[in-house]
């Protein structure tokens, strides 16, 4: 199997595995980081180290990192936590939130929930290049706007929203800015010491760390304030209770350390591989690269294939692990919003594949994938030579 679905989840880096083992294998460090004895202190040391690595990846300070069970939780905590803090009795009635239609469901569904609590939400429509611009966001602001939530990198087509240009404008107006950086963290340069983003979500399993752990950056200066969404013993400065999973955090920490150390070199390598695959696929007639008109994160390539039916295309590539749209919503088979925004009709959007390349992708894999896709597209088109329109 050729795995080109790194945007859905990545394999663990073997170096991350080595670090995690220290906390899992027989005789390993197994204490509860909250415990006040030698076993607990050893675990606590590992947690502190992990926190420092995550902070370094983002240009943040360790005290600004709140560990979560992943980005779904981080996004929930950011949005509900911020709105609830502003209005402890309810959930922020009368407030306004700006986001986009192409956010991940963990942002969109949380916004829907906020709407049931009386929050007004504006869902911006991306432009024909698949991006939401700073200008669009600024035009949507009202005096009631409390928070803007925008993803840094789109998970379906890899386009990069210019959150760095937007952040200062929101800071000036005292509006909280949350960024879903799940597809950006470890892949593009992030420096929160420089960019005034207030809240930022990431998830370890998108950059060679373990599944089920992530973090929310919560700025200290000026302090972004959140009401906790998980109540309990008061871990994570009271913002997120629950026993800290040492091995998971150590994995996230090591993944962060590696991503930071190797990002520039890996960026170059992945862009070259993606270009190679893009060349192979666009050699076929009637193929369209989605998001090509905008800056893209290095690993993602989303292509629509004319005159083939989507399900047969995917089924015809049993040896290729790729995604149609985002893995999280593959099950629902909804037509991708962002592809429709790019002007693809339903059939074409349905016949799109998201190839996402990563740390272990080789030239040989990319070439084999290109060949398999080419052969299958041609075979399916031959089954109906008249073309879809006929």
């Amino acid at each position: 199997m050729i795995y080109l679905d790194y945007a859905a989840t990545t394999p663990l880096d073997p170096r991350v595995y080595e670090v995690m083992r220290r906390f899992l294998e027989p005789g390993g460090i197994h204490g509860n980081p909250a415990s006040d004895h030698a076993a607990g202190r050893a675990a606590r040391g590992a947690v502190d180290e992990a926190r420092a690595h995550v902070a370094a990846l983002l240009g943040a300070t360790p005290a600004e990192i709140v560990f979560t069970s992943g980005s779904t939780e981080a996004n929930n905590l950011a949005l509900k936590g911020a709105l609830e803090f502003l209005d402890p009795a309810g959930r922020g009635a009368g407030r306004h939130v700006v986001t986009s239609r192409t956010e991940h469901k963990s942002v969109l569904e949380t916004c829907r929930h906020l709407e049931t609590r009386g929050v007004r939400v504006s869902y911006l429509v991306p432009g024909v290049d698949g991006r939401v611009t700073a200008q669009q966001v600024r035009a949507a602001l009202t005096p009631e706007t409390a928070l803007v939530s925008l993803m840094w990198v789109n998970n379906e087509i890899g386009t990069v929203n210019d959150v760095e240009a937007l952040a200062p404008a929101l800071r000036e107006r005292g509006i909280l800015f949350h960024v879903d950086a799940v597809q950006a963290a470890g892949k593009i340069a992030i420096d929160l010491a420089r960019v005034p983003i207030d809240l930022l979500s990431l998830s370890a399993h998108k950059f060679y760390g373990p599944k089920g752990v992530g973090a929310l950056f919560v700025r200290k200066k000026p302090r972004a304030r959140l009401a906790p969404q998980m109540h309990g013993s008061g871990h994570e400065q009271g913002m997120r209770s629950g026993t800290l999973p040492t091995h998971q955090l150590a994995g996230l920490g090591e993944a962060s350390r590696l991503a930071l150390a190797e990002r520039v070199e890996e960026d170059r390598r992945l862009r070259a591989l993606r270009e190679r695959l893009e060349r192979a696929l666009t050699a076929l007639p009637d193929t369209f690269v989605n998001g090509a008109g905008a800056p893209r994160a290095p690993g993602i390539l989303n292509v629509s294939f004319g005159d083939v039916e989507g399900e047969s295309l995917r089924a015809g590539l049993p040896d290729l692990a790729v995604s149609s749209g985002s893995a999280c919503s593959s099950a629902t088979r909804e037509s991708s919003y962002v592809l429709r925004a790019l002007g693809r009709d339903d059939a074409l959007a349905g016949a799109s594949l998201r190839f996402s390349l990563g740390r272990f992708t080789t030239e040989a894999e990319v070439d084999a994938a290109g060949a398999q896709v080419g052969a299958q597209v041609l075979r399916l088109r031959a089954l109906w030579p008249a073309g879809r329109a006929a």
Partner: protein, 122 residues
């Protein structure tokens, strides 16, 4: 090699697609599903009321393609009058098509009906 869990016969017919193609000078029947744009086309060569050879073309999901391939194979050697014995139900049972793909089997039945009506009008 069938990671998506298609019924084994559907999978094999989708992958092999036997009798895919055109039959120059044959009789051409067609059927389509409005909702999702699936299409099947069957071309047959006959000696009197007996089908000697058949080819299919398809646009649609793997099950649609499998139904087209299966029908193209099944009709060969049949007398026209035997075609009406084939139904959505039998196609589903034969290929083990699940409930949520009933429409693909129906497309097959429609295709045979279309062929029959063509031969009658001829």
């Amino acid at each position: 090699m069938n990671p998506f869990g298609y019924p084994p016969r559907v999978w094999q017919l989708f992958i092999d697609a036997p009798r895919a193609g055109e039959l120059a000078g044959g009789l051409t029947a067609e059927a389509a599903t409005r909702a999702n744009g699936s299409r099947l086309r069957l071309q047959v060569k006959m000696t009197r009321s007996r089908i000697d050879d058949a080819r299919f073309q398809a646009y649609g999901c793997p099950t649609t393609i499998a139904v087209g391939a299966w029908i193209a194979g099944w009709v060969v050697g049949k007398e026209l009058q035997e075609l009406s014995g084939m139904s959505m139900k039998i196609i589903r049972e034969t290929l083990e098509i699940p409930d949520d793909r009933t429409h693909c089997a129906l497309l097959g039945e429609d295709l045979l009906k279309s062929l029959l009506s063509l031969t009658r009008s001829n």
